[in-house]
């Protein structure tokens, strides 16, 4: 279990009391705001009707702002699958703002990258992929503990981020319907990756320059960090005479990597054109044991996208083409040299925005497979909405097709305050 999400009961109680006390004291104070939402959501597999998603959430956000500083807390209580409620500290940070600078200290989400449903340059905040890509993207991103410094001059800005404490991403757990197909001939025994020791040396460092102007929006970023998800090193193999490989032992390893990227967007006539790209150094890929006894190879990799957004008759569309490219490729790698994906998004509002239809499709272009996310949201009042939709997978293999048995429908109710 992700240690950033589970809080010990005593700590949880203390946090609730602290939050409640601060909220109570703050009610009479200027600059204090309490907001959030309550939500219930269920999801069922179409194949057998089983409920794989049943969760109730209360998300409360408290902010206290003065002229030049602010304190912000986001705490959520989640009950999942009928289990015990879990308290989750989503964010807790202090912010100081001057005319030309800003400093944010604490647990915070730092979102970089501006593409839809793709995270090429969103390199700071790790993702919770425990349910693959089906949750709302807002819920995929996790907070990180650290310091962010910003400097501003007109449309130019420079951000520096130091994260002394590594926060890993969350992969789908083994045994769940979202566990990916493992690229091994036998079921491996896996030793989980150990967290890097807390030290200055093991900190993560990021920088981004961005410019927003009438002709173009530009951003350049780089980082030296731990890969959010571990690689797996082979630590043992069992060979049975006459049978061959019958067992394999793996050990998860977080590893250092660096990335440099760009983002650019501009408007040409009715189109917004966008592109993002990043070069990641020494990214680890699983490989053939015969060639790579440790089970993986470190390669440089490039990922980029080109996309456009436009409107036709009141419907907003977004199209993206994404390519992953492994440099210095060799055939012993499990991954292909190129991985090509496209996304298609469409959003339309009806009935004075009381009804909203959202479609997002991921299309695997090499070995055709796809994921279609469709959702209809009905705002009964400004505070309350009902939603329902479907997640459909197509294909037999590939990053989307491997979940072909997970076609599902979902429904939810949400109240905002």
């Amino acid at each position: 279990m992700n240690i950033t999400k589970r809080i010990m009961p005593s700590s949880a109680l203390a946090l609730v009391l602290l939050f409640g006390t601060v909220a109570g004291v703050a009610v009479a104070e200027d600059g204090v705001a309490l907001s959030g939402y309550g939500r219930a959501k269920v999801g069922s597999l179409l194949s057998d009707g089983s409920l794989f998603l049943a969760e109730t959430t209360l998300d409360a956000r408290l902010s206290w702002e003065t002229e030049d500083s602010a304190l912000f807390a986001d705490v959520a209580v989640n009950e999942r699958q009928g289990g015990s409620p879990e308290l989750e500290l989503r964010e807790l940070y202090f912010r100081y703002s001057g005319d030309y600078m800003e400093m944010v200290i604490g647990k915070q989400q730092i979102i970089w990258g501006k593409s839809d449903g793709v995270f090429i340059t969103d390199i700071v905040t790790p993702k919770d992929l425990s349910r693959f890509l089906v949750p709302d993207f807002v819920e995929l991103r996790q907070a990180v503990d650290g310091v962010r410094l910003g400097g501003y001059a007109g449309g130019h800005s420079l951000e520096l981020v130091w994260l002394p404490l590594f926060s890993p991403g969350v992969a789908p757990a083994a045994g769940t319907i979202w566990a990916p197909v493992m690229p091994y001939p036998v079921t491996p025994t896996i030793t989980p990756a150990a967290m890097p020791e807390l030290s200055l040396e093991n900190g993560e460092y990021f920088a981004r320059y961005s410019f927003l102007g009438n002709a173009v929006d530009l951003s350049l970023m780089g980082g030296w960090f731990w890969n959010d998800l571990p690689s797996f090193a082979v630590t043992g193999r069992s060979l049975t005479p006459g049978v061959g490989l019958t067992g394999i032992a793996l050990r998860g390893e977080y590893y250092r990597t660096a990335a440099f990227g760009y983002g650019v967007a501009g408007t040409i006539g009715p189109l917004v054109l966008r592109s993002e790209g990043a070069l990641q150094l020494d990214r680890r890929y699983q490989g053939d044991f015969a060639v790579y006894p440790q089970g993986y190879a470190a390669k440089n990799a490039v990922q980029y996208l080109v996309g456009t957004d436009f409107s036709i008759l009141g419907t907003t569309f977004g199209l993206q083409f994404i390519q992953d490219l492994i440099l210095e490729y060799d055939d012993a790698l499990v991954n292909e040299r190129y991985t090509n994906t496209a996304t298609v998004m469409a959003v339309r509002n009806f009935a004075r925005e009381a009804l909203r239809l959202e479609l997002l499709a991921y299309l695997g272009l090499d070995n055709p497979d796809a994921l279609l996310k469709a959702q209809l949201v009905w705002k009964i009042t400004d505070a309350m909405e009902l939603s329902g939709g479907t997640w459909l997978f197509f294909g037999d293999s590939g990053q989307f097709g491997q979940y072909d048995d997970n076609d599902s429908v979902f429904a939810g109710a949400k109240i905002s305050f």
Binding site: Y152, G155, L212, N214, D217, S311, D382, E385
Partner: protein, 261 residues
Amino acid sequence: MTVLNRAILPALMFCLAFAPALGAQEKTALAIMMAVYQRPQPVDMSATLTMTLVDSKGKERPRSLDQRLASFGGVDKKIMVFQSPADVRGTSFMNWSYEEAGKGDDQWIYMPALKRVKRITSDGKGGSFMGSDFSYDDLGARHPSKDSHVILGSDTVAGEECWMIESKPKDPGDSYSRTVSWISKNRLVGFRRDYYDKKSALLKTLSVLETRTMGTYLMITKTEMHNVQANHRTRMEFTAIKLDTGIADEQFTERAMAKGL
């Protein structure tokens, strides 16, 4: 830009001293509309806008947003930040529009849940503004040269003697087949506008409900757009209006969108 267009979003700003100057001119329809378009106006403004959507049964859905706008040498910049309802609180829009002919607007949106500013398409201006009965076109600038204007006659609206001026777009692809504006003869301010759809049927009526004099400017502070075909309405009311406070160009940035006004 027509007077009623200006009336809505930046509140209507009209220099009282301008009216006598027009009196000396030939009162052609185009001259009237140009005089309104070219009137002096504040360099910048900030205000709180309350927009109330009223359905056919009278049920009201209020929205509140803070806005800041200013002109910088041929570029009008504007930021709007939603304060309510709760689910969109903190969402902000920034728009840069240009006097340069043929240059489209630049627009960005900041969504607090996603914590990012994204450039968005400014096309589809005939579409509804935030679910209201105003379209983006209704709120934006429109040069009188884009339309052919004819004085239909005179009428009295809200006690004001007005010219009735019909404006037909020269581009047949425009949102409306024609509009009819009621322009005060004494104050050169629009008090009503009717919008006709592509089939020449009356679609919407814009009414000025309240005006206020601030310094040398006449501000329209409350308007209502009535969609007569769907029978729902949208009221817009401006409060906490501040004019010419020296808003700097540096206040129209990605950071301002994320932090709020």
